[in-house]
Symmetry: C2
Subunit: 448 residues, 2 copies
């Protein structure tokens, strides 16, 4: 069964192309499992990433594989899905083809298209900050962040002046959303608990962790009680929470911060970016192709049924899409993916029309440090250890595969007991890497 063979089939099956193998894309593909359709799932990476735990890879707790199963392995038992690794760089909505740069330049035709390409970080127009303030959206990013954090401690061991040491031991996290809060908390734990007995020329507990945000509180989407609690927990861990404070300049030696009191310089060799998010550039591409538009974060404006204007055969879901009242979280993408699967089933006559999509808020939560969390779930505002257990339970439940669940729990327990982290590799290739190389395009028509 060649990749190009199906077109010769007299009774050609309905072709669904899914762009993006994140929460939305994978759930959509799974939702199509019993339907007589041919699904092609395209992603630039070979793995499905469980992003909510990415910060644990960046701080040495979990290994990349534990939060990122190979995409193909998710569809071993689902014969109607083909996985294709490549970069989507264009759509022809009239001809109904997706342009993909993979091993070759491919044109993949569809009858129904689902675009679920997610979001990336945004430097608010300051892309020049990127090399000195790495963000965290991919596993390569997380490996780079981990290498940077651990390298700073190694370099501090060799510092020649107190100023140099202080700059090496100052970690600034920009952005106090869930990722920033969790990252800052884990760096504090790393310095105060894990590395405590491992350095000889300084006490790692001297390390300063700064969490900056222009907003007046941490975790803006959470209820006020939880925001205040999270801030208190962070301060207890020794994190300097600086609110109403904006990054106005970042270079290799530090960050310029502007707040009420004016502008000041924070010398730091490790600035990490957890602030802005913008939709995948595919959102703008689709907007242009279909005559709709995007919002300030580059998110595509879709119709209520998640389709494009004039193109009911094209769905867009997840973080790349703006829908009033629906937050940019994994749950939303998952629910949308499932919904689109049902709509497709109805269209090809296999199932009744589903009710209009409605987002069910299942709550939000964030961990702080080792055994604390804040959770806004089941209509309750929970904090401390109980919130941490619920956080753990929910994340384990959504992690793919029993093996990964088992290993993640074992590592969390071990980490608390041994006060160590398993994955403390500083990767030279991570540190050296800059932008990824673009594959050489070579035009070949598939499914011609």
């Amino acid at each position: 069964m060649g990749w190009t063979s199906k077109d010769n089939d007299e009774r050609r099956r309905h072709r669904v192309v899914i762009v993006g193998g994140g929460f939305g894309g994978v759930r959509a593909a799974k939702a199509l499992r019993r339907l007589p359709v041919d699904v092609t799932l395209i992603d630039r990476n070979n793995h499905h990433l469980f992003q909510p735990l990415l910060y644990q890879v960046a701080t040495g707790m979990l290994s990349p594989g534990q939060i990122a199963p190979a995409m193909r392995s998710l569809f071993r038992g689902q014969d109607n899905v083909r996985v294709l690794m490549g970069d989507v760089h264009g759509f022809d909505l009239e001809q109904r083809v997706v342009q993909v740069a993979g091993q070759h330049e491919l044109e993949v035709p569809y009858d129904t298209l689902i675009v679920a390409a997610g979001a990336t970080h945004s430097y608010f127009g300051h892309d020049e900050w990127a090399p000195d303030a790495p963000g965290m959206k991919t596993l390569d990013d997380a490996n780079r962040v981990r290498s940077r954090i651990l390298l700073a401690f190694e370099q501090a061991e060799q510092a020649q002046t107190p100023e140099e040491r202080a700059a090496l031991l100052t970690f600034v996290v920009v952005g106090a959303g869930p990722t920033g809060v969790e990252l800052a908390g884990q760096i504090a734990i790393l310095a105060r608990k894990i590395l405590k007995k491992e350095h000889r020329s300084f006490d790692p507990r001297e390390a300063r962790v700064v969490l900056l945000d222009a907003a007046p509180s941490v975790l803006p989407p959470f209820p006020e009680k939880l925001r205040r609690h999270a801030e208190k927990d962070l301060r207890k861990l020794g994190v300097d929470v600086e609110l109403g404070a904006m990054a106005v300049g970042i270079d290799a030696d530090g960050i310029d911060v502007r707040d009420e009191a004016g502008e000041r310089r924070v010398p730091s060799r490790t600035v990490l970016w957890a602030a802005g998010v913008q939709a995948s550039p595919l959102a703008a591409m689709l907007a242009e192709a279909s005559g709709t538009s995007t919002d300030r974060a580059g998110r595509l404006l879709v119709r209520h049924d998640l389709t494009l204007p004039v193109h009911p055969e094209v769905f867009a879901i997840g973080d790349m899409v703006a829908r009033p009242g629906v937050p940019g979280v994994a749950q939303a993408a998952i629910q949308e993916g499932r919904h689109v699967g049902k709509v497709i089933a109805a269209r090809i006559g296999e199932q009744p029309e589903p009710p209009a999509f409605r987002y069910k808020d299942k709550g939000t939560m964030a961990t702080i440090g080792r055994t604390h969390a804040v959770a806004n779930v089941f209509g309750m505002k929970l904090t401390g250890l109980l919130a941490f257990y619920i956080w753990g339970f929910v994340h384990i439940a959504y992690l793919v595969g029993w093996g990964n669940r088992f290993e993640a729990v074992a590592r969390w327990m071990w980490t608390i007991v041994a006060r160590n982290r398993r994955e403390r590799l500083i990767s030279q290739t991570s540190l050296d890497s800059s932008a990824r190389a673009a594959p050489a395009p070579e035009r070949v028509r598939v499914h011609a």
Copy 2:
């Protein structure tokens, strides 16, 4: 206690500098734990690598952290050891200082020096093969090899001609020593068992794994019975074992092989190098500085007591040293590291003089595929499942830390049951990476 503070101490303690945190260096440092000495352990990486399991990282079984604990964490409880991350690039044997490029250009003085810098791979004068035939000595190497192997399968899914697909599905391993045998076996398992149900445009079992060696048999140092058995096991797994066959050219599209029958071309997009080994360049540097010489593999010729001629205060151990009758294996480095620790103890009057160093051969073994191995241990030549259990037991015993032991065994069991591998990440930064950047030197004198 600053890194530079000790020199002001009136009763300065004996200073031991260890270059290299592999098996030899770490064991030497551990052997000095109860002595009144100050140990500085210098390594270019921040982790201690358990090299015998590196091939399992390269084939997606284990995570980097599971075979590479952070160097510092090994010495948490040993206050007399300082770990320093940096590249050693020179020795001044007269002034007794080691030149290190770390965060700064450092000069680290010693009273006793132990150099245990190991070996790297050698392309036998064909360094131009390196980009197209990556070797495997570091974790970054293993990540690159894994990314290359998995990418070839992804690209094969998109191949446009049978020839292209065949080249993408041909994996050539050059060198049939333990690393080459284990790597070839694991690639075969990957294709035949793990990926079996994951591709749609070809059957992964079509993949061809070629194991090449110029020698007339696999595993040259093993007894003949085991060599024959290993070869048979490899063929059963579907590996093409080609002996008496020499690589004469390697490029991005394949390898030129010369054997009895003449020269031929094997089209392959994934050639892996497990053939030559040469001593660290520090061996030649020490040879020049001390007036001794190196052998063909660049290994340093040392005296019977593992010291340099004219410099009894300088020891060299492990794979970078040539000693008749001692193989280049972990056991030799471990035993030498321990021995040097005892010699130092005797010299500073803390222990009686130890007997002259004698290598105790504890046997050799190699795994083949999932549950087979050959082992030459306890005077017995073992094969099959029993050898595999012994292999597993010994490797687990030598792995550092109960957590890693537990996780490795759990993964091996899970892999057999689930027919999957945990760590199947294709890393873009691994694929893009070339040579590592040299740190900018800046001269600062330490311990002046």
